[in-house]
């Protein structure tokens, strides 16, 4: 084995190539021929934050229409072209991005990229699929109207980000979905489909030269710069508010949160470690022990740090029968305050670091997971070398740092809480 190959094996970053197409499109590539498949992931800054304020759901509707007819194919013919070769292609919108997911058998790579090219450059946005996809979105919104989790999330979002795009519904509102016109979709696509915010990763049975050629075919016709609305930085508002929404169900669904620490913040790693200890780590967290194991108050209880482009939050959730829901919330609040004031123990810190470093490899065991990770790193502005540096950053977190960042993250422990059900005494 050559020295280069050995270095590549011991280094995760060493397996990733940075590919530049002749036309100047960048992609990160892991070439791997053990399984005859190719996966491609990409994202562009074309999420719900770009929706007009009176037309939320525009980006979601656009993402839903990209595979519903393009170029010479109407919707049915396009799906047939995908299915005849068993090509998986899907698009979805979140707050900040539209992302695309392509997976194909290696022998159909050319056809797969050609269909992706059509979807991204020549989607027809025909009237029939437009109405059909809109009706599907309406049906989903109706189904969620009295769903406890959806209700708690809706109320939380609205109270956390009032007067900000992040407070609006990514998947639209019943009242305004009918007003989204084809022209709105076309305008959004023309404004946002651009190379400057494009992040691409490919994994599998494809070489750098072939990938470079396909990158130009698919994205080469896009303009360099988008014309995006500026999304202002924001933070979770209404701390201390408890909003209880009445629903005739035996269990109360609770959503809680407060401002977080952003993925790009220099103190993100210690923040991730203390959140792991609070409620981020599966079956071993303080919340799991106190709420579930010791008291039997809930099946699911967790906390996480979410980073959007322009906000970060600490957010969590649980569900407890109405009679004891107030007790669940009290336990969660007291655990947050305790961790804020005393910080984690040395033993907890060591365990958290061991888990977070040891489990990193588990995010890289399928080609779609690897490709998604590589796009995510690019979105956050990291270099390929981060793949090797990340565990060192986790290991470097000290107890003093964890305590200090815990104080910053949890503050006075004030939470925005939304609860759906008929909780006693809340």
């Amino acid at each position: 084995m050559t020295a280069v190959a050995e270095a590549a094996l011991s280094s995760r970053a060493g397996r990733v190539q940075r590919v530049f197409s002749p036309g100047g499109i960048e992609a990160w590539l892991v070439e791997e021929h053990a399984v005859p498949l190719v996966a491609l992931e990409f994202s562009i800054n074309c999420g719900a934050a770009q929706d007009a304020p009176d037309r939320p759901g525009t980006a979601t509707l656009l993402a839903g229409l990209l595979d519903e007819g393009a170029g010479p194919y109407d919707a049915e013919a396009f799906h047939r072209a995908l299915d005849d070769k068993a090509i998986h292609l899907s698009f979805n919108a979140d707050r900040d991005h539209i992302s695309g997911h392509l997976q194909t058998l290696g022998r159909n790579t050319d056809a797969a990229f050609d269909l992706l090219r059509l979807a991204l450059n020549e989607a027809r946005l025909d009237a029939e699929p437009l109405e059909r996809v809109r009706e599907q979105m309406v049906a989903t919104l109706k189904r969620d109207l009295n769903d406890p989790e959806a209700m708690a999330n809706r109320a939380f979002r609205a109270a956390a980000f009032p007067d900000h795009p992040y407070g609006r519904a990514v998947r639209g509102e019943l009242a305004t979905l009918p007003s989204i016109a084809r022209a709105d979709l076309d305008r959004l696509r023309k404004r946002a489909f651009a190379r400057a915010t494009l992040k691409v990763a490919a994994v599998g049975a494809i070489g750098a030269a072939a990938l470079a050629r396909h990158l130009d075919e698919v994205f080469g016709a896009w303009p360099e710069l988008p014309d995006l609305m500026t999304v202002p930085a924001t933070s979770v508002a209404n701390l201390g508010m408890r909003r209880v929404i009445d629903l005739d169900v035996p269990q109360t669904t609770i959503r809680f949160g407060r401002p977080g620490i952003h993925r790009r913040d220099p103190e993100f790693m210690p923040a991730m470690v203390v959140n792991y200890i609070l409620g981020g780590g599966g079956l071993t967290t303080r919340l799991f022990h106190e709420v579930r194991e010791k008291r039997g108050l809930a099946y699911s209880v967790y906390s996480q740090i979410q980073s959007f482009d322009r906000a970060a939050m600490l957010a969590g959730s649980t569900s407890t029968k109405n009679e004891r829901a107030a007790e669940s919330l009290a336990v969660i609040e007291s655990e947050i305050k305790l961790l804020a004031s005393e910080g984690p123990t040395e033993a907890e810190l060591e365990k958290a670091k061991k888990y977070l470093t040891g489990s990193y490899a588990l995010s890289f065991d399928t080609s779609t997971k690897i490709a998604a990770q590589l796009v995510h790193l690019q979105q956050q502005g990291f270099d390929i070398s981060y793949l090797d540096e990340r565990n060192k950053l986790v290991e470097a977190v000290t107890l003093a740092e964890a305590k200090r960042v815990g104080e910053r993250l949890f503050g006075d422990g004030a939470l925005l809480v939304t609860a759906v059900g008929r909780p006693a005494g809340m």
């Binding site: 498949l37 799906h79 059909r132 049906a139 569900s319």
Partner: protein, 446 residues
């Protein structure tokens, strides 16, 4: 009964190479220890990670009468500790960077960890320890029963669609225990105690009833050696446990189940048929049902989508699902969400028309080929995910299939003809074999 070092003197049964793979997929081995434990090794050398699973061949359909939910409740209690690890071993697995969980289904219960490959031996030692070493006290059993009740409230008691689904299953299976939800009925979960859990544990948790699946960056010889050193030392029951399940009689009457609830704003329709599984069906029958299901409701090019969604605009969404991996006769589901202008009765009639047509006419060759292509490709896509592969093999073996059955599945799908699909529709999608579920707002219930 064998225990201790004597086990290792007995060779494993010969490894069975997976046939019919044409050299594209991994070479999967299947062997058995003297104490009856089966071992399946699925190589995936791309990353230094392994998925370690133990499957027990008992699920909720083996719950004793009046004790519904005991298989699932015990699965929760399996994390409570043993003599060697009195507080369980979740902290230890987390410190090794491992992820773990477990799940209960109608026909099996499985426990798994995903870890860096150097920790495989530790996982095997821990899982072997809790195969017979579980210790339960009332002070851990009582709060965990509350956890399960909260799980049931979260999944079912707050969701009318899920309640309808429970009622539809209970109607489809008038006699077989598949009619009882995996998690159990609430009033019976409330009565389950430590003794129920231990009685059930002692009946089923034994090497002869278990299947070890290891997928990832490993050699089968190494896994078999480690298994002998760990699971091989677990004494087994003299006879493997037997399942006693009353079988469903031939269905004679179509049943309509309606659930109305003021929380429902979006009506929904489902139809479930009693059909053979891969385990119970005659040769080729399950494969024909698999192709039929994909042809009817597998995505945007399927017949129901074309007819009901695009052309007649009666539904905004439709789909079909065949639960073929099942020990006993199983279910084929069709679901549809109506457009605002469509009643569930109209949708139901249109569904009957489409099914009748499929039973009367052979499907087009291009539709048949598309369905077969997609299904066969799924077997290749599965190779990208060691955890899904492990689940596929585990579920298949735990429902009575063999490694060869799985290896030859693509060939058998390729062999399905238009006549097979038509015959399957005529024989199995007869209305008397089915239950229809209507989910409606309360106002429409009059």
């Amino acid at each position: 009964m064998q225990s201790g070092p004597s086990v290792s003197e007995h060779p494993l049964t010969p490894s069975v190479p997976a046939g019919g793979r044409q050299g594209t997929g991994p070479v999967i081995t299947h062997s058995r220890l003297e104490n009856g434990l089966q071992i399946v090794v699925i190589p995936d050398r791309r990353t230094p990670v392994v998925t370690h699973m133990v499957w027990y061949q008992n699920g909720s359909a083996d719950d004793p009468a009046g004790k519904s939910g005991i298989a699932h409740f015990l699965e929760h209690l399996m994390f409570k500790g043993t003599k060697a690890h009195p507080k369980g071993f979740s902290d230890l697995i987390a410190e090794l960077g491992g992820q773990e969980n477990a799940f209960t289904a109608y026909d099996y219960t499985a426990y798994f960890q995903r870890v860096a490959k150097e920790h495989l031996a530790t996982m095997m030692a821990l899982e072997a320890d809790r195969m017979t070493g579980l210790i339960l006290t009332d002070d851990v059993v009582a709060p965990e029963r509350d956890v399960v009740l909260e799980e049931r409230r979260m999944r079912t008691d707050t969701d009318p669609a899920q309640q309808l689904n429970e009622a539809v299953q209970a109607s489809l299976f008038s006699h077989h225990p598949y009619g009882t939800p995996v998690i159990g009925w609430g009033h019976e979960i409330e009565t389950l105690d430590r003794t129920d859990a231990l009685t059930y544990y002692e009946r089923f948790y034994t090497p002869a009833n278990a299947i070890l699946i290891v997928a990832g960056d490993v050699e089968s010889s190494e896994v078999e050696h480690l298994a002998r050193e760990t699971y091989g030392r677990v004494p087994t029951h003299e006879k493997p446990p037997r399942r006693f399940r009353p079988q469903e009689p031939e269905p004679r009457a179509h049943r309509l189940v309606t659930l109305t609830d003021p929380k429902v704003e979006q009506p929904a329709h489902e139809r479930v048929f009693l059909v053979p599984s891969y385990t119970t069906g005659a040769p080729g029958e399950a494969e024909a049902l698999e192709v039929l299901t994909h042809f009817l409701g597998g995505g945007h090019t399927s017949l129901l989508y074309r007819e009901l969604v695009i052309e007649r605009k009666l539904a905004v969404a439709v789909g079909a699902y065949y639960m073929g991996t099942s020990l006993d006769a199983t279910r084929l589901w069709i679901y549809a969400i109506p457009t605002p202008a469509t009643s569930l009765e109209q949708l139901d009639r249109a569904l009957d028309e489409v099914i009748a047509r499929v039973a009367d006419h052979p499907i087009e060759e291009s539709d048949l080929q598309r369905a077969r292509t997609r299904l066969v490709a799924d077997a290749i896509y599965a190779q990208d995910n060691q955890a899904s592969l492990a689940r596929w093999y585990g579920a298949s073996l735990a429902t009575g299939l063999t490694i060869e059955d799985i290896a030859r599945w693509p060939e058998r799908i390729e062999a399905v003809t238009a006549y097979d699909v038509q015959t399957a529709a005529g024989k199995w999608l007869h209305k008397r074999r089915g239950v229809t579920g209507f989910l409606l707002p309360e106002a429409a219930a009059a």
